[in-house]
Symmetry: C2
Subunit: 235 residues, 2 copies
DNA sequence: TAGTGGTCTAGACCACTGA
DNA sequence: CAGTGGTCTAGACCACTAT
């Protein structure tokens, strides 16, 4: 073999990727089974399995029992976005963080919110709006609905010092979440609190979370115009 | 033990998550080491390792050799976005796909493009613009620069029938990619080809790819207003 | 230096699925 | 039914790092 030693799952992965990139294994083509590859690379089948499993998870290979492993024809690559609290997002940019509560009311959420939370309408929830500042300038708005049935303790917290963003993460664990990204023109509320014109285009991240079967919260983060969400991509 | 049988890595993971959610293991706290957990669950250490490794990859646990495994204090959850060719995106919505080339020129890319591709300015590239249609209606615009040094064969392809999006994926593999999501008001070009007003807010996905050290392409996909990018979230 | 996670191995059995 | 991937196990050694 002209290739360097192949004895770790990482090196197996590298060699497989090399063969795919060099068209030794073409898109759609079947590759040898795990046992044969293990023999060829002189390593255990477990090692080959780990290498191939990760490539299948990242969409480069397609595996099926009995019929074997193929190079994906139309690889669906997976971009990963790190979702974290806004304070950390700001601090990681090297800016100083500020927070201001705008209002906190108990109200009936609009249909868009109950729909995203997979609920019927009519239930009252806690509605919290706030602005996150970077070096004193508005960085993002937070518009959040909290389900008081699942999170009754939110009724006693005023969110004046600590954002709901952070308070929930520290106090209310969740099991399941959805995330949606969209763009809209700046609403009147956004124009006022982000200090932008009605021509501004705003990037929104909407996130709903559940704990077991109970809805926890639905939040929209609206970013200052020009904001980018950057992904750390995999292969 | 009152818990159901724990004998697969999946059930180990479920049990660990249950303990974290129920605050049996609190944020920041250390959990038992792999050997002890294997004993408790009456399974192999390898099984525990796989369960914990995945949780560490998804940001719920933090692991360090010698010092052990802790529940993450500020979990950075990872939202995964599937990036695939626009044709499949449209077909998965149950619409019929259409494609039209707008123009194809050789030109010097603007600074924003060379910057994203990590290049010096001055090099000529192939510039291809096209519209993707869903049921005959503009769905997204593709504005693409292709590096002719890395992909010389693009000079001979006209992109009249098949989009660059698809042609590149089938013919030019890449190793590395970046992805960026942003919102802007509709440009004159977007207003014309997406048939929207100057008040429209457009969601863009920018993607640059490289093969080994060579830049392959930089593309901006501009979606029809109202488009959402939806994530399949983990844990 | 010692404790922890990271990985490899050989062998085994199971689950799925195409022929 | 038979071939393939999916997983588990016990044991081993290695790599990193707190002390």
């Amino acid at each position: 073999m002209s290739t360097p030693d192949i004895n770790s799952w990482q090196s197996v992965q590298d060699e497989v990727l090399r063969r795919i990139h060099n068209r030794i294994w073409k898109p759609g083509a079947q590759i040898p089974n795990e046992t044969d590859l293990a023999k060829e690379f002189n390593c255990g089948r477990t090692t080959v399995n780990r290498a191939l499993r990760e490539l299948a998870e990242s969409g480069i290979l397609e595996r099926k029992r009995k019929s074997g492993t193929r190079v994906a024809l139309h690889p669906v690559s997976r971009a990963v976005i790190a979702v974290q609290i806004v304070r950390r997002e700001i601090e990681e940019r090297g800016a100083s963080y500020g927070y201001a509560l705008i209002d906190r009311t108990v109200d009936t959420p609009p249909h868009a919110v109950t729909f995203a939370m997979e609920l019927a309408q009519g239930e009252e929830m806690l509605h919290v709006r706030a602005v996150h500042l970077a070096d004193g300038v508005p960085y993002a708005l937070e518009d959040r609905w909290i389900c008081l049935r699942t999170v009754p303790q939110a009724r006693d917290y005023d969110f004046a010092q600590k954002s709901a963003n952070e308070w929930l993460l520290e106090n209310v664990p969740y099991n399941r979440a959805t995330l949606s990204i969209l763009a809209t023109p700046a609403s009147a509320f956004e124009q006022e609190y982000l200090a932008v014109s009605d021509k501004a285009s705003i990037l929104h991240v909407e996130r709903a979370t559940w704990r077991d079967k109970g809805p926890v919260t639905f939040v929209t983060i609206s970013y200052q115009p020009g904001h980018r969400i950057i992904s750390t991509t995999t292969s």
